[in-house]
């Protein structure tokens, strides 16, 4: 979610993420689900270059995506994959066989193809939302070449639509209407988040409102996706589903809180994570507490011998442990 801010990431976090990526054979991109671009689509994508020199948000987003590999998006895909693997490990342990413990074994089988597709869908949806949130209103087109800014808008809308269409088709191909419905709820919530942000554009938000905004903006999709990963593993125990939902929600919250705390520099783009009206100390406390609760949730449902579970807990600790925060 943060583009032009500089987020300082601790070495622990980087290490945790690197290990997790290896564990789940994370390719780091979602190109496998993209249908091949037609001539017109490719031409339009290249048209982004015409925006050079303007301040259209699309330009920055494109740069972040292609050159920096937007971390927050990839982390979400990674979390879904980890939960998927944890769920599969759980299923195996329930039926008596060994869960996966190391990255050296045949990792790719530990996650179902459908679950991989789900993770990619989640990334696609977040990216689409990024693009759509970068559309400018006419009133904002005050400086620079207005024609180019209008082109930027067209590209942002179409690009986002293209991604959403891909995601819709891929979701349909999962042949799991419950999953599709869940992810759709995530998309609806992301739209609603923007409306909330409209109402409070500048000032810092009180805790409950901030919590609600973050839930809608990123927590909902991640929560629904984690739950969907469980469903795709053919597990339907209600408390497990509820717990996975909660885990996803907490991870998104933890991620947002850690971003607030580790950013330096000022927020210069209103699309980004809103400021919170809490003292730094209170925020730290909240973050740490959420981290502990998340780990408890994981422990209560998933086998601790699972490599994926360990990896997920490591990531959470790296984000929420006070010692890890710079």
């Amino acid at each position: 979610m943060l583009f032009s801010q500089i987020v300082r990431r601790s070495p622990q976090w980087k290490r945790a993420v690197a290990e997790a990526e290896k564990l789940v054979s994370y390719s780091g991109s979602y190109l496998s689900l993209q249908s091949s671009l037609s001539d017109e689509e490719a031409n339009l994508a290249l048209s982004v270059r015409k925006l050079l020199g303007t301040k259209h948000p699309l330009l920055q987003t494109a740069k972040d995506l292609f050159y920096n590999g937007n971390n927050s998006i990839q982390t979400r895909g990674l979390v879904v994959l980890l939960v998927s693997q944890a769920a599969n490990d759980l299923k195996r342990s329930l039926s008596g066989s060994q869960p996966s413990t190391s990255a050296g074994t045949d990792c790719s089988e530990k996650i179902l193809t459908k679950q991989r597709h789900l993770a990619e869908i989640v990334e696609i949806v977040y990216t689409a939302n990024l693009l759509h949130r970068g559309v400018l209103d006419v009133a904002q087109m005050t400086s620079g070449n207005v024609e180019k800014l209008k082109l930027g808008n067209k590209l942002a809308v179409l690009g986002g639509d293209f991604l959403l269409a891909n995601a819709s088709v891929a979701l349909a191909n999962l042949c799991a209407p419950q999953v599709t419905s869940s992810v759709a709820q995530g998309i609806a919530d992301m739209s609603e988040a923007e409306f909330l942000s409209l109402k409070h554009p500048d000032r810092a938000l009180p805790q409950d409102l901030w919590d609600r905004t973050i839930y809608l903006q990123s927590g909902s999709l991640l929560a629904h996706s984690c739950k969907s990963a469980i469903l795709l593993a053919d597990l339907d125990d209600q408390s497990l589903l509820d717990n996975s939902f909660t885990i996803g929600r907490r991870v998104a919250l933890i991620y947002a809180l850690s971003e607030i705390l580790t950013t330096n520099g000022s927020v210069n783009n209103k699309r980004e994570t809103p400021e919170i009206d809490m003292s730094r100390q209170e925020t730290f406390d909240w973050l740490e507490n959420q981290g502990k609760l998340a780990i408890e949730s994981i422990n209560s449902s998933f086998p601790s011998s699972s490599g994926a579970v360990r990896s997920l807990k490591q990531i959470i600790r790296a984000l929420s442990d006070r010692k890890c925060l710079v």
């Binding site: 031409n43 179409l158 088709v169």
Partner: protein, 421 residues
């Protein structure tokens, strides 16, 4: 030709162009109009009216009677279809607000107490924006087609032949259509639609885009509640086709006139006909029809959709702005070369250059407009639309319940040619 008998022939009356065209259209529809007078029914221009009016003596009352007859003879929709359509706005509002019991509609258990999320308390503004187009009294054309097709595919000849799931398809098709309209208005920078301001004109571009996403997401959920994976796939294809169609519209190819025309037809399929075709196919699937019937339903929808768009493109040249609800000549101003233009380009190769540069130079729009009106393009467009209407009408006989509802589907197909907006 009863109306002529009622007229004593000695009184000349000049009645309005609309009146006149309605009369002649009715006659043509019934196959009663001589060939020489065909152009009076189909797209007569004002100079034609003025030429012909002195030669045609009709009492105003005769004309009015004829229109009344025409309206009577135009079939009313079956009652259950009308009832479903009347309910539609309410259904959409419910789907948008997510007020239906989650477990039933979405099959999603919302974890109790896990989060006090306000997802089921949608912001008031968001609801207002999302409902905006639905509360304007649109034609509800797509749901009508879906409902009639559902009835025509039913095997058991009952009057109440539309299932709840098929009704959901009708609602979903309208929601998908509306979501695409919202985005199209942002892309085209349109300020008015149906004579009212667009969503982006009222609330800004960004909000309009996100409202479109919201409507689409809710439509997806309603679709999933049907619980049929095949139908979800079929309808998801519409969403992909809509986007691809939009991309196709943005690109202009430097190629032969034939290739350009093919491109236009493919784009028209993706942007318009796909929704009709796939909705029809979905209701056929839900009716338990075999693949042949499904394909028939698909082809009906596709031909209907193609005719619909061709007439739309035609009306952009001939209709008045007020009737259209948006400024006429909009396609040219957007740089789009539609069927009338492409046909005209065969007569006037000078149009090719204008097409390639998307009418971007000053006076291009006016020049292209004049070319089109002076060419045979409009008539050829109408002719092509007619071919599609007739193909659609031909397919109806193969549907299981066509004996009861086939006439309505025929009306829908053929009435495209009479549309004024």
């Amino acid at each position: 030709m009863d109306f002529l008998k009622r007229c004593n022939g000695s009184t000349l009356c000049y009645f309005t162009k609309r009146c006149q065209r309605a009369c002649f259209s009715a006659l043509a529809y019934k196959g009663l109009l001589p060939e020489s007078m065909m152009d009076l029914a189909y797209g007569s221009t004002s100079h034609t009216v003025r030429r012909m009016a002195p030669q045609i003596a009709l009492r105003r009352s005769c004309a009015t009677t004829l229109i009344q007859e025409q309206l009577k003879s135009k079939r009313e929709l079956p009652q259950f279809v009308q009832q479903h359509l009347d309910r539609l706005q309410l259904e959409v509002t419910g789907a948008l607000a997510g007020t239906v019991n989650d477990v039933i509609l979405y099959g999603v258990h919302r974890p109790a107490g896990a989060v006090e999320t306000p997802s089921n308390k949608i912001s008031f503004e968001l609801q207002e924006m999302a409902k905006y187009y639905f509360s304007q009294g649109g034609k509800l054309y797509r749901p009508t087609v879906a409902l009639l097709m559902a009835a025509s595919c039913s095997h058991d000849r009952m009057l109440e032949a539309v299932s709840e799931n098929q009704y959901k398809i009708a609602v979903v098709s309208e929601m998908i259509h509306t979501a695409s309209l919202v985005h199209d208005d942002v892309i085209d920078e349109s300020d008015t639609r149906r004579n009212r301001p667009t969503v982006n004109a009222l609330w800004g571009n960004k909000m309009a885009v996100l409202v479109g996403d919201y409507i689409l997401a809710k439509a997806t959920q309603l679709l999933c509640s049907i619980g049929n994976a095949q139908v979800v796939s079929i309808m998801a294809q519409i969403i992909e086709d809509l986007v691809k169609g939009e991309f196709m519209q943005m690109g202009v190819r430097d190629s032969s006139s034939e290739a350009r025309f093919l491109h236009y037809m493919q784009k028209t399929y993706k942007k318009t006909a796909s929704l009709f075709a796939n909705s029809c196919k979905s209701v056929a699937v839900l009716a338990g029809c075999n693949e042949n019937i499904q394909r028939t339903a698909f082809e009906y929808g596709k031909n209907l959709g193609m005719a619909f768009q061709l007439i739309d493109d035609l009306l952009d040249f001939v209709a008045q702005s007020a009737t259209l609800g948006k400024p006429a000549g909009a396609d040219l101003k957007l740089g789009l070369a539609t069927a009338p233009v492409l046909f005209a380009a065969r007569e006037y190769p000078e149009l090719d250059r204008l097409i390639l540069r998307r009418f971007s130079e000053s006076n291009d729009v006016q020049k292209a407009w004049d070319f089109v009106l002076n060419s045979d393009g409009l008539r050829q467009t109408r002719q092509l639309a007619r071919q599609h209407c007739e193909e659609a009408a031909r397919l109806i006989a193969f549907l299981p319940n066509s004996a009861h509802f086939g006439e309505h589907l025929t009306d829908l197909a053929m009435s495209q040619l009479d549309r004024e907006h």
